[in-house]
Symmetry: C2
Subunit: 655 residues, 2 copies
């Protein structure tokens, strides 16, 4: 005798023999119901809800609940608040008649994380580490412990041939016997047992790491639910050996074991970061079963212990381009002893795993509308394309957008001027520094002590100087008499902060050289985008995504005014935040995405800007500021300026 | 146009296009000619000898040498004595007419080692580590170094997907550039690059290790030729924690981290041993690319860091039974950083990887004649069978055969009495101690200072006591008056060495308890063999192989007289020496043999002596000494005893 069973919401249905558990019926029909214990009533994860009424298509008219009555175990879970009144455990409920059950979202084996951000980001949860509970045969001829565990994993969970992490060998026998041959096992990539815990246990966590030149960011994620449990950040300790990447490359070249020193510094910092993130979630670093790492090519290579000297000059040869899976311990990382590290692939000498992570997160290769994604750092990495083709390039912007190579430039840190407005009538500026809530012309809780100008500040001040007529569209200072403006021959300078407003006691000025540096940087960026546009077929991008911290802070109006990016509807200029970190998290939570990253790496066409003659032409064409302010429609609302504060819509951004 | 080419001695032939090199022709015809450089005239390994005359079957009547003339490279090798006058390099010689070439044995890719021992042992050389020379593309789009190396390995040697050892990642770029992108690469199991050396380089070595309870033996082998380059031995440092295995198990149980202490001790000793063996061959420990390890179950588990406590009591559960491949560095072994360790499988709680190595070396599963292989230690491991079926058991002999549990017993070490003769007329003994060339009744260079009786000495003295009528076949001392014989009630004792002959100044005696201990031990051994014989079908074994050091020293006549083994032609009782070490070497040199060991492990039927009621019966039946001396034909020549020294044929033994 068999009965019809229908699983909602998928609507899948089939026949199940009388007496079969709902869980076994689901398995037989290929329907995923979450469970860790394999149907032993231990994990209380396989919840289903028997539902009333007909299931129209299949016209089940009999009593919709034809299941065995709840058992003592279910009653206990119900009493403990772990099972709702209308829910059953699929492993406890046995089928004795036609039935329709609904699987609540949390019990669906194929989980997704939907991120509450400006745009929805949906991540299918399919991690590399899977945890299962097994009961191992105690007496099995003369088989060894490991053979018996393997047999249990095969019989109870369908695993194929598995390896055992070497570090588990000495403790396996003890772990199996600790709870009477019941263990919870973490299996990596269906290939290797990396953790064994006595009895029934829950919890698998991983760490997604973005190795930034300045900042290290680590997200601790629950590998079963996809939830981000904690986020920890730290300064990149390599800053002590050089603020920018090229000085770190030089450090490696000039000092004996320099690269190794830099490698050890970042490993040490990651160990602290892992420990901090774990602590914040009430865990320990050795609970971390896997780590995914992204970073630019130089950080990627230094993380792996590779001297990045070859990345410092042509032909910018990568040692490792493809993704890697390594034992974390072999790199000196102190996570779980069996933990693996996955590094995303790089694309080329200047386009690293961070950019591939951005591609994974923003998926230009699946986009219907043509987009350009810009990640601005020492170089600007550009992805350009849509589902027809994606191209990538690195533009040699130099570090001006990061505040370097600017006379009063500095990193985005407390004291840095990040926003600027200039009254076009009086040429008097007002500005805001990082770490002080009030603008410079407002009373604030904190003293006004500007230390320099950061990347977003320099973009805004040059845009405002253009709006106020202090500079012309060719970038030259317009000769005029004003207390804020000084000339040394034809080379002007504008005093943004007075000596009294400055932490150093000296005025903070914007010089002709500073404007030129910004012009060179923005021309390089624009030329890179234009080059990719040519290679893609000439179509203009519909959307512009600004990745990284820079994109979060900068006002897209100024970005367009100065001509960093092509003109488009400002509503389509989107700051996507730390997309590289998002890509790392996606790869951590979904091992299919890792394969996709490898495919993306091979599918993207890399355009070498350095050797392309068109790049030089585009660069020269892009040096001038493209728009007269009054002819730039998107900035019209900035004229006249709102003296109470900025009214320009902030870029849309993701949390 | 194509030509006929015939390869001798195999006689394989085929057509080759005009101008093809002999090496390429051989490849195309599937004929293995040794080469490391892949046909780049770098390794001078692919020697062939063009031979004159007709090759009858194919009637090549044209000039037998239709090859291009020797080139400059060949001339240089010839001048350096690396190429004989009548030899050519197969990669240099190109085919322009029908030709017959002979491949000398050293250039045949499928090598064998033929051991010069009593029986020939032939080992096909097919190691897990293969070394190849490749030239890597210097410019290859934007590919990384590792991608380019992989591409070269695939194109030039046909490798599939390979992994890169993590420890190579930091140095790969430097190694590739050191000799202009020419490198020699060691690949493990066609799976992983474990070593990269700049330019063309030769040499791959591995270590075969037998972890004995008392002694560690390591053979350093050339993985290309199969030659044993050096052998190093050391005392097992675990002796400090207990001479016999069970006291080591207890040490692990009684002391915190006891098992770990024992593990570290053996790893440390192996590091010294590897270093010693390498030095003896003019190499260094980090030249060793692979290690194969065998040992009894307790040594095997301690080597892996497993507390052997479960092996100390029923059900004698192994933690790891099957073979393993591990990174040597993960065990703390200091070989090449990328080196692997392969451990042979164990069979059951008391039948270890050493016994499986013996099975691999002696191949009872392929034998036409029924054989019994006995490896005597604290337990005796017994293999019984032929190609129809092989059975295995462990008999609880106790350590009496090793000199333990004997009142004056000791390990086989200088000072131990190892051979004994007793004059049946006078009952006066003569004996030989280890480390002194002369017998006790002869003047010798060394002073006579006996310290005790070792295993072979106790077997001989009991046999001689029987021959002389001092004991009867039931093992009891015969009551008689003699200065050498003392009685305490009915319990007799025989003075083998006088106080003057002894290092301690006290006489060395053989007591009634000693005789009983030997009776118990030999009954256990015999009962084990008899049990296996029953399970195998009752047929008597034709050959008896005595493995291990004990078998090399003991006289098979006494072994049969006392009834340790079944009666058979003494010519068929063969001491096979360190067969476990031989098995380890076979597994090191031939990776197919490792699979065979796994198959043997699964094919052998294990008989549990402890629980088999027949064992008890056989044991009781075997307690008496089976033969009246004068009814034992094989010992007839011992009567009357040759007073000048032993004339009994020594067991045949392998070097």
């Amino acid at each position: 005798m068999s009965h019809r069973i229908v699983f909602q919401p998928a609507g899948k249905q089939g026949e199940a023999p009388d007496g079969m558990s709902v869980l076994d019926a689901a398995r037989a029909l290929g329907i995923g119901i979450e469970n860790i214990c394999g149907g032993r009533q231990t994990c209380a994860k396989c919840k289903v809800r028997p539902i009333a009424g007909e299931f129209a298509k299949y016209a089940i008219t009999s009593d919709p609940v034809h299941l065995t009555a709840p058992d003592a175990q279910e009653a206990a879970y119900r009493a403990a608040g772990m099972l709702a009144a209308d829910e059953r455990l699929a492993c406890s409920a046995h089928i004795h008649g036609d039935v329709v059950v609904s699987i609540p979202p949390e019990a669906q084996a194929q989980k997704q994380v939907i991120e509450k951000a400006a745009r929805e980001r949906v991540i299918d949860i399919d991690p590399a580490v899977r945890q299962v509970y097994v009961e191992v045969a105690q007496v099995a001829d003369r088989q060894g412990d490991w053979e018996r565990l393997q047999a249990a994993l095969t019989e109870q969970w369908g695993f194929g041939v598995l390896a055992l992490d070497t570090k588990l060998i000495p403790v396996l026998g003890t772990l199996l016997r600790a709870e009477n041959w019941k263990v919870t096992v973490a299996v990596w990539q269906e290939r290797e047992v990396i953790r064994v815990r006595p009895g029934y246990a829950e919890g698998t966590v991983g760490l997604a790491v973005d190795l930034g030149t300045t900042t290290l960011v680590a997200h601790l994620c629950d590998l079963r639910t996809g939830a981000t449990l904690a986020t920890a950040t730290a300064m990149n300790p390599q800053i002590a050996y050089g603020e920018d990447l090229m000085s770190r490359v030089s450090y490696g070249m000039v000092n004996a074991n320099g690269a190794d020193t830099l490698h050890r510094a970042v490993i040490k910092a990651l160990n602290s970061l892992a420990s901090d993130a774990a602590k914040a979630a009430g865990l320990r670093a050795d609970d971390i079963l896997e780590m995914v790492v992204v970073g630019n090519t130089i950080m990627h290579h230094l993380f792996l212990g590779i001297d990045p000297v070859e990345l410092g000059g042509a032909p910018f040869a990568l040692t490792i381009r493809e993704s890697l899976d390594l034992k974390a311990r072999d790199l000196g990382l102190r996570l779980h002893p069996g933990a693996y590290v996955h590094t995303l692939p790089c694309l080329a000498g200047h386009v690293g795993a961070d950019c591939m992570a951005v591609a994974l997160a923003e998926a230009p290769h699946r986009a219907d509308t043509l987009m350009v994604i810009v990640d601005i750092g020492t170089n600007a990495e550009i992805l350009y394309g849509d589902k027809r083709a994606v191209l990538a390039a690195s533009s040699p912007t130099g570090p001006a957008f990061e505040g370097a190579q600017i006379s009063s430039g500095q990193r985005a840190a407390p004291g840095a001027i990040e926003r600027v407005r200039i009254d076009p009538a009086t040429l008097e500026p007002r500005f805001k520094v990082i770490g002080r809530a009030a603008w410079s012309d407002e009373d604030g809780a904190e003293p006004l002590q500007a230390t320099g100008i950061c990347g977003s500040g320099i973009i805004e001040v040059v845009g405002e100087m253009l709006r106020a007529g202090i500079i012309s569209r060719d970038g030259r200072f317009v000769e005029r008499e004003h207390p804020r403006i000084a000339f040394d021959g034809k080379r002007g300078a504008y005093m943004l902060a007075t000596a009294e407003q400055s932490a150093t006691g000296k005025p903070i000025t914007v010089t002709q050289d500073d404007v030129r540096a910004i012009q060179l940087a923005k021309a390089a960026l624009y030329a890179g985008i234009a080059l990719l546009r040519r290679h893609h077929g000439g179509e203009a991008p519909v959307r512009v995504l600004l990745a990284g911290g820079f994109g979060n802070v900068i006002d897209p109006q100024y970005v367009m005014l100065l001509g960093l990016i092509p003109d488009c509807d400002p509503a389509n200029v989107i700051a996507v935040g730390n997309a590289a970190g998002d890509g790392a998290r996606i790869a951590l939570l979904n091992c299919e995405a890792r394969l996709e990253a490898d495919r993306i790496m091979r599918a993207i066409t890399y355009i070498e800007t350095a050797t392309d003659p068109d790049f030089q032409e585009e660069f020269v064409n892009a040096l001038a500021i493209p728009h007269a302010v009054d002819s730039f429609p998107h900035l019209a609302h900035l004229l006249p300026i709102d003296q109470t504060g900025p009214t320009a819509p902030r870029p849309r951004r993701h949390a």
